[in-house]
């Protein structure tokens, strides 16, 4: 694979103060901490805010449904909305997203319907949506593996001379996996149009960042791979949007991959089967309330006079409608065809699988008769 496009400029170590554009009081940040990135315009911020509010309401609903036992599990991204939404918003239609199990609201923001999304967590089918239709790969459970898929897809797009970019999310824990390293390295050697967004939410299940890595920042790693790295305040949607957009543009222009670390915090448990009180103080979590990503941009928009009562009301109504639709959809019992499990293993029917399918069909037929007899 030729990488004749551009020799990247020698990367420099990212600053160890996270890049920010809006502070906790909603004020615009000035000076070195912006690293030269410009504040997105008010319409963009308003749209990011709206999507974050919808996503939070959606997750609250889904978490409730999980507690009621309607979903098998759900890894919430509460508190990480800025990373998730800014990243997706920076993508163009032709771009691909490679998400993990935690990045559900990224799928929602990209237009996948709640039912298609949640069939994974409800346990109907591993992936409920059409990856090609949405240009989103299945949510990856084996850590860091999807980053290589992103590099491969982006490379294929480059070979076909399409201007498609692939963006993949990684957790702080998953950066310890070999596949994360291989993905960074392949992407850089092949100058693949890829954007790596590490959401450093500071825990990998129970393991804190301090036991995951001794690197001051994960963005520091970029230099070792020969690509630019940015350390960003992951709870500042304006900064995340500005940096990811620049990285996407850079990739699209043929200048190769970028590594972005968004420093954020997971407010909820890892999943509903996790007990966070065993590994972190509630005071620590409470402290992060001051850094809430939605709150911050809301204050900013308020100051700018962009959040009129009408706008607020319309967003709130939209959020409620989404929650209601999600709840209603999940209250319906899915109709599943057990025999379908045999249909998507190989492209052509296999005699041995057809035999096993017939066996299950026969078993189901007898179960039906027994149940009918009992009724």
């Amino acid at each position: 694979m030729s990488n004749d496009v551009l020799v990247p400029a020698p990367p420099t170590l990212p600053t160890h103060k996270p890049i920010r554009l809006i502070d906790e009081t909603g004020r615009a940040v000035t000076g070195t901490q912006t690293a030269g990135f410009r504040m997105p315009d008010t319409d963009t911020l308003l749209s990011l805010y709206r999507r974050m509010v919808l996503a939070r309401r959606f997750e609250a609903q889904v978490t409730a449904l999980t507690r009621q036992g309607r979903l098998a599990t759900y890894p919430s991204a509460l508190g990480q909305e800025a990373c998730e939404i800014a990243s997706v918003a920076a993508l163009a239609q032709q771009d691909w997203l490679f998400p993990t199990y935690r990045d559900t609201i990224a799928l929602l923001t990209r237009g996948v319907s709640p039912v298609e999304i949640l069939s994974f967590f409800r346990g109907d089918w591993h992936t409920g949506f059409d990856p090609h239709a949405h240009r989103i790969s299945p949510q990856s459970t084996p850590l860091a593996t999807q980053a290589l898929h992103a590099v491969g897809l982006a490379t294929a797009a480059k070979l076909k001379q399409d201007d498609t970019v692939a963006l993949t999310f990684l957790g702080d824990g998953s950066t310890s996996e070999g596949d994360a390293h291989e993905a960074f390295n392949f992407a850089s050697v092949w100058q693949a149009p890829v954007v790596f967004v590490i959401q450093n939410n500071q825990y990998a299940i129970s393991v804190p960042y301090s036991k995951q890595s001794r690197a001051r920042t994960l963005a520091d790693r970029a230099i070792g791979y020969g690509m630019p790295g940015y350390y960003v305040d992951g709870n500042d949607v304006a900064a995340m949007y500005a940096v990811v957009t620049a990285a996407v543009e850079r990739a699209r222009a043929g200048h190769g991959p970028t590594l972005i670390e968004g420093l954020t915090y997971r407010m909820e448990a890892h999943t509903n089967s996790d007990d966070p009180t065993r590994y972190r103080e509630t005071s620590e979590t409470a402290g992060w309330l001051d850094h809430d990503p939605i709150d911050r941009v809301e204050k900013h928009l308020d100051r700018a006079g962009a959040l009129t009562t009408a706008v607020r009301a319309s967003i709130a109504a939209e959020a409620e409608a989404l929650a209601t639709a999600t709840r209603d959809a999940m209250n319906e019992t899915p109709v599943l065809d057990p025999l379908e499990v045999f249909d998507h293993v190989y492209s052509a029917a296999r005699p041995a699988l057809l035999e096993q399918r017939a066996f299950l069909a026969n078993e189901l037929a007898h179960t039906d008769t027994r149940e009918a007899g009992a009724a």
Binding site: M1, S2, W96, W125, H126, T127, D130, P131, H132, S137, P138, S140, P142, T145, A147, L148, H149, A150, V151, G152, L153, A154, T155, A156, A157, L159, K160, T164, A166, G178, D179, E182, A183, N185, F186, V189, E340, V341, D343, H344, V345, Y346, S347, A348, R350, P351, A352
Partner: protein, 357 residues
Amino acid sequence: MTLLDEIRTGDARTAGISTSHASAERAAPAILSPAPAVSIAGALNAALRDALAADSNVVVFGEDVGPLGGVFRITDALHAEFGEDRVWDSPLAESGIVGTAIGMAMYGLRPVIEMQFDAFSYPAFEQITSHLAKMRNRTKGRVTLPIVIRIPYAGGIGGVEHHSDSSEAYWTHTPGLTVVSPSNPADAYSMLREAIESDDPVIFLEPKSRYWAKDAVELPVHTAPMTRAVVLRAGTDVTLLAYGPTVKTALHAAELGAEEGLSVEVVDLRSLSPFDDETVGASVRKTSRAAVIHEAAQFGGYGAEVAARVTERQFFHLAAPVLRITGFDIPFPSPKLEEHYLPTAERVLAALDTWEW
């Protein structure tokens, strides 16, 4: 000359290959006009060349497959012919090779990738079993991954440790994968072309001790579908089931058996997954005895699957239990000791002698 170079140039004797493996070439197929002698390595190279020429979505990448042409020269000259965007050297990382191939296939390419040696496919185990094999199923058939992973496998070339593993049981145990292994040049060509055209991922196990075995073959050639087993030699007393490197062992055993008045049928499985129950079943019903031969260790191995299937399906036609003639349940031994490990024709016949006839 290094050991490997000697093997590459075809001088198997100096490379210390046990004579039972270096001799007894398979009988050439009946042909009307003289056809050129083609090795398995040459046939694979031709198949890759023809596939690259036929479909611009086919790409070849991996470790050293570019200008060098692969450590076994299977990709020889392809880089020069098709260029850096079709045939290239990747960074040295097997998980990365398989993982990026998956992304490429999602975008419409048909990657043919090489794992340099059998045991070096293990870093890619997760990508192969968790993603390559499952993607179609996870997505209800919406994402297909037409990827071929070529793995030079098994022993017999005096390789140092980690260069002689037989990993077929790992792959055949994984639903979603097709696993095949050719044993002769014609099949090597035909099966690789078919594997590349398949919409499902294929693990293509190349018996490296047989790379230089030649047959008279006119290329391109179409042999039986790659998912079918083939009866290579007809017999009435016993069915030997073999694949890849042990096909030659089986044919050799058949010849030795014939000298003792034993009529041996040899079936080349060719496809390990799916398993061709039909061809194997028909043969076993005819002979009423079966033995499976492989290089991999016995315990939990592929032979256990074969024996179980044949027993379940043909029990009332069987005159004796299905036998396994395999490697020992030990890590593959050092080069100087591998001849004691590899199943030989003599060992096959000795095993058959344990039956009451």
